[in-house]
């Protein structure tokens, strides 16, 4: 579909074509090839580089400013969570997993709680499930706000970052009130939740929704309405649907390519089948679409939150667990939609206190693996635009 828009790389200097098709650079490159002997330059972008948020390293070979090849080198933040999980009580794993994608802790905890519950056959109280949904959606918005701020920052616009963090602060106040934490919330428990919502929390959450909706409109005019932002992102880093699927991309990358895949829709968990929401999709799969999808996902999350407010029933929020959590032998798999994409946990139990094997399938890992495809033949400046638009967290790549 959009494959023909992809810059064709080294041959002919097509990638040097200016955004509005004037093609100033084409001539220069062809002449340079004929008259000058040029040498490629290898550049290490990262592990300490302002645009790699954390410690991702990308090894790029440059011809002038054009990228001949790019290879992400990962592992600088490998914390061995999968192995650690094999030595932890099931209830302790929750405190481990909210650290791999450190801005969406509840969405991560949720998956672990669900995978253990599934293996043990625990029925979670209805109230707990609804509250989990509420908190997971707020976490999703928190995560997306972070990228709404950081992506324009990478393109050189400083202001949206501060606006996004102002909004984040308001939501953080709610999260802090409910869970007592700000980053690693550790609110989910096997069989339910740590504690019930404090009185008035739903009202606060209800107040936040329209306010945030207004602010999202503000972002749309501030960021999407900006000509330079459009010029920098439209048609850049095109990831066609078939390529996205073959790399196992998920989340914004996949949805921007036009594939309405969202675990909340295709394989509903919690009560996502009982609420109404859409999966925003893009058309071209370029950076601009990925960012639009990100904003769209926030709006859909707000829709879900509004419906959840009306549905939370009274009742207990946790079930009584045995002293020792010992799931029966066998294996369980849970697939959830984390803010960054598809997050799955696979657990093999040998009827012991700890899992025999605990596998995480994190969205950032697969999304980042598209870099060599996306970056080949782009300019160095576009590399930042592309890398930022894939929306990854380094901890989520390396685990």
């Amino acid at each position: 579909m959009a494959a023909d828009q992809q810059p064709s790389g080294a041959e002919g200097g097509v990638a040097f074509q200016a955004a509005d098709g004037t093609g100033v650079g084409v001539i220069i490159r062809e002449r340079a090839d004929r008259e000058l002997h040029t040498q490629d330059m290898t550049l290490n972008v990262g592990p300490q580089h302002p645009a790699t948020h954390g410690v991702l390293r990308v090894l790029v070979t440059l011809d002038g400013e054009m990228i001949e090849s790019a290879e992400p080198v990962i592992g600088y933040m490998h914390r061995s969570f999968e192995k650690l999980a094999e030595y932890r009580d099931y209830r302790q794993i929750i405190a481990l997993v909210n650290r791999h994608d450190w801005v969406s802790s509840i969405c991560n905890e949720l998956g672990v709680a669900m995978v253990v519950e599934r293996q043990m056959g625990i029925e979670v109280p209805e109230r707990a499930t609804w509250i989990r949904m509420l908190m997971a959606e707020w976490t999703r918005i928190l995560n997306h706000l972070m990228f709404v701020g950081s992506y324009p920052l990478e393109l050189g616009a400083i202001t949206p970052m501060f606006y996004a963090f102002r909004e984040r602060e308001e939501i953080q106040a709610l999260m802090e009130w409910v869970t007592g934490g700000r980053l690693h919330l550790t609110y989910c428990r096997v069989g339910g939740l740590k504690q019930d919502l404090p009185r008035g929390a739903i009202d606060l959450s209800r107040d936040l929704v329209p306010r945030l909706r207004e602010r999202i409109k503000e972002y749309e005019t501030l960021i999407l309405g900006n000509e330079i932002f459009a010029a920098r992102t439209k048609g850049i880093g095109v990831l066609p649907a078939d390529v996205a699927c073959s790399y196992g991309s998920s989340g914004c990358s996949l949805q921007a390519a036009g594939v309405p895949e969202d675990a909340r829709k295709t394989e509903p968990y919690l009560f996502y089948d009982q609420v109404e929401f859409d999966v925003p999709t893009g058309r071209n799969g370029d950076c601009y679409d990925r960012f639009t999808v990100l904003l769209g996902r926030m709006k859909e999350s707000l829709r879900i939150i509004e419906q959840v407010h009306e549905r939370i029933p009274p009742g207990p929020v946790t079930v009584k667990l045995p002293k020792v959590v010992r799931p029966p032998a066998g294996h369980a798999y849970v697939r959830t939609e984390a803010p960054l994409g598809q997050l799955s946990y696979y657990m093999v139990s040998h009827n012991e206190k700890t899992p025999w094997r605990f596998k995480m399938r994190t969205p950032s890992f697969n999304n980042v693996s598209t870099f060599p495809y996306l970056l080949k033949g782009t300019l160095l400046a576009d590399m930042i635009a592309v890398m930022g638009s894939v929306f990854f967290i380094v901890g989520d790549i390396d685990r």
């Binding site: 200016a18 100033v24 650079g25 580089h49 010029a231 930042i384």
Partner: protein, 326 residues
């Protein structure tokens, strides 16, 4: 008194001290303004502690900090070029301040070709930038420096052409004469329309020449770390920063002189205060652009220069010439 002032050996030190004072004070004012204006545009407060009142002395504190820092020269760097680069970038910008008419009969160095001397001087800085880039022995510096060179060369042309249109309208390249021909708010009559266009061309080109956002690719922190400044620390880094802010002030002053009537004003007698207000207003625009726009890509920037600005400024010269003849 006037006898004393007409003595060259008395007048010259006075001029030098005055120009140095302007050079030292105004960039700091603009730097502080950038801190505060951007902060308030971004829902925060900015510096609040240094100097007791709203952080007025923040930049002085920064300067003291820069002085204390270790002076690091990378082992692979070309030591002499590396050390000289900040001076090469800074000194021409200081000299520009000498040619600006601050009031009637108040031009420190008056020259028949003052306009072109100032433009030439402000483009010498690029040599300092290139020196910094090559001598740092750093790939990011190299990329940043080459970006800067390409950018400054591209934008020199519309800048000079727009200024040439003004010189044609005034019939002189003497900055003092150019100001004299304007009303208090700038050009009047038939010259107003083409020179308003000229003001925008000049403003865009000057913004690019200053490598300020949205044209800050040579320094793009998210792409090339800090461009040609990556390896600089301490005082040398501070000199480059000072160059940037002094550049904002000098370009604003030139723009105000060329298009906005320089030191002329209303109610109060003409004098430096009007120029100061105009310079601060233009600097405010520069800061405003920084907090609003993302950065363009290098090739998009070149397209704007060669495909948009150069033809427009050529047309401008044509129109101004036509109006002048008719």
């Amino acid at each position: 008194m006037s006898d004393l002032l007409s003595n060259y050996w008395v007048l010259m030190p006075v001029k030098v001290v005055a120009v140095l004072l302007i050079f030292l004070v105004f960039p700091l004012v603009v730097g502080y303004m950038e801190h505060k204006v951007m902060a308030h545009m971004q829902a925060r407060l900015g510096p609040m502690e240094a100097g007791r009142f709203h952080g007025v002395l923040q930049l002085v504190a920064d300067g003291v900090k820069f002085v204390q820092k270790e002076s690091v020269v990378p082992r692979a760097a070309d030591k002499w070029v590396f050390t000289l680069a900040p001076a090469v970038a800074l000194i021409p910008v200081i000299l520009v301040f000498g040619f600006i008419p601050y009031g009637p009969e108040l031009t420190p160095i008056r020259s028949d070709v003052g306009l072109f001397v100032t433009l030439a001087l402000s483009s010498v800085s690029v040599i300092g930038v290139l020196m910094a880039a090559w001598s740092s022995a750093n790939k990011y510096s190299l990329i940043g420096g080459l970006r800067a060179a390409a950018q400054l060369i591209a934008y020199e042309l519309p800048l000079v052409l727009a200024a040439a249109a003004v010189a044609m309208q005034a019939g002189s390249a003497d900055l003092a004469v150019i100001v004299e021909q304007q009303r208090f708010w700038g050009w009047a009559g038939w010259a107003l329309l083409p020179l308003t266009v000229g003001f925008f061309v000049y403003g865009t080109a000057a913004l690019a020449e200053l490598t300020r956002p949205p044209f800050d690719m040579p320094l793009a922190d998210s792409e090339v770390v800090f461009g040609y400044l990556t390896e600089y620390t301490g005082l040398r880094f501070a000199f480059f920063l000072l160059t940037e802010y002094a550049g904002i002030v000098s370009q604003s002053a030139i723009a105000a002189t060329l298009f906005l009537g320089g030191y002329k004003g209303v109610i109060l007698p003409d004098g430096p205060w009007f120029l100061a207000v105009k310079v601060l207003a233009l600097s405010f625009l520069v800061i405003w652009a920084r907090s609003t726009y993302p950065r363009l890509r290098e090739d998009q920037l070149q397209v704007i220069a060669w495909v948009r600005l150069v033809p427009v400024s050529l047309l401008l010269i044509f129109v101004v010439g036509l109006l002048k003849v008719v």
